[in-house]
Amino acid sequence: MLNWALRSLFAERGALVASSAAVGLALLLAVLVEGVFAGEAEQIVAYAEQAGADVWVMQDGVANMHMASSFVHVDRIDEVRAVEGVSRVDDILYVNGFLGAGEDEWFVYLVGLRPDALLGRPWAMAAGRSTPDLGEAVVPDVIARKSGLTLGSSVRVADRTLRVVGLSRGTYSMANPVVFTHRDDLAAVLDAPRSTSYLLVEARPGHSARDLAAAIADRIEGVSAMTRADFVESDRAMAMHMGADVIALMSGVGTTVAALLVAFTVYVGVLRRRRELAVALALGAVPHRLLAAVFAQSLIVTGFGWAAAVALALLLRPALSWALPEVTVLFALPTLLKLGGLAFSVALLAAWIPVRRVVGIDPADAFRA
């Protein structure tokens, strides 16, 4: 019956293409949602990942940047420098805020840098300088493109007007684009001249980040210290937790639509082949062979749909990046495989109802002309 299942599926090429396309489009929705989710999950921690720190030091009790505030007295900078194994310490002042760009308002991470900082600066530039001076700002190139900013344009932070001197790459995410200013500009806005937010620590060669973080937390009062990996994961978990419900809902909708389409496709196929299934039963086919045949057809349709969805998603990605630069789409192999596994599981489940129709087919139908 497997032979029949394959041949009958491929004999009706139009129906196969239509079914696979329908399933593929539904899965494409799920793939894109997952891709945006994965892309945003990466981008949301891009700054913590790329800032160059082996260890992040912050106010005790704080474990992330996302939706967090950290205030550490500037005296702690020298204390951290004195810890054995520390190669370099740069501090950043950080606050969530709004960037005014023409008519647009952007919710951003504002990072105040010292002019001599090596850690915490933009790590890739599209144009201009990476380190802002007093009265200057470096903005993500995506914001510049969306708001029509160029080098020399003016932007607003609180009551200050800053001149754009650099356009950074890789610093944009939908949740937290990063805008860099001079530390003193941000300190003036915050009215916190003796405070800083995070100390970015570089370890000497041969010293482990984990040991160094433990040593700093142990010796310096009022701060906590985390390795970059731990800090990134903590930040990602916080960010994903806040957006997970929406993403899960969208992913669920995509998967449900895919499941319904698979079920509908297989159901229609079973109805269309009802007579042939009845004939096979009359000739002596055992029901479980027919079930296997119908399941095989369901899996093949889903497989084609899945392949089409992945191919389309990969083809669409450059177009998406061009049309929607603010959206980062990431198709990681494990995510695609996970979705593939999910799709095949859904296909098996979705085929269950039509398969029950197969079991209920009356073989005597073969006699009815």
Partner: protein, 273 residues
Amino acid sequence: MSRYLLEAKDLSKTYGRGRTAVHAVAGVDLRLGPGEIVLVMGPSGSGKTTLLSMLGGLLGPTRGSVEVVGVDVYGLPPRDRPALRAHSLGFVFQAFNLLGALTAEQNVLLPGRLLGRVGADQRARAAALLEQVGLSERRDFLPGDLSGGEQQRVAVARALMNDPPVILADEPTGNLDSARGQEILMILHDLARDGGKGVLIVTHDPRAEEVADRILWLEDGQLRDRRADDVQWAQDPVCGMRVDAQRAVAFVEGPQGRVVFCSHRCRERYLEG
């Protein structure tokens, strides 16, 4: 063990209950021996398909039994009946019922595959059967590319694939023109005479009487045996069907003699004018 290949005793099928009960088949006794061709004829709605389905192990009777080569079909657990059908019964359908995606050869091979039989000997048997029905040249054709007569010949070859002792044919000439219908009847005839198979044909086609050993008349669910030449044919004036004037249950006596009908429905229509 029974000397009959197929034997039905007191076979009955009732649909519904109480006042709405319909007795599609009522107390039918039927025997089919080796090399014998038995025709079952009767008006539409007389229960022919129901009878054939029960004889083929496809529809459980309300009462009675069916034995195929001595095996009580409905005494078997349901899970064992498909294998009995595949081994012991060959089916030929009015609508041919070939699987459209399979070639002629693959259709013929199907009953063997249902029993897990694959290999060169099976292909050789399929080739021989296709040659027997004159379709060697069309073994790789899909059913859609074959004529009705060719499709029915493939269906006959398929029915013979597992060399079953009993062939059940439902209106095998119903969708064929006169010449093609005659070909199929002769193939069935040869299967009985030369192959020793028991062939039961349900049909309206009077040409089939020429090859039959016995003709059974099914009407209102009941079966009556008669000889092929023991018939006085008349034509139903409403539907045009040939009717045995001696055994017709629906008739009216008129000034020019008795007018017979295939069914009470036709009689009512006749009387309604």
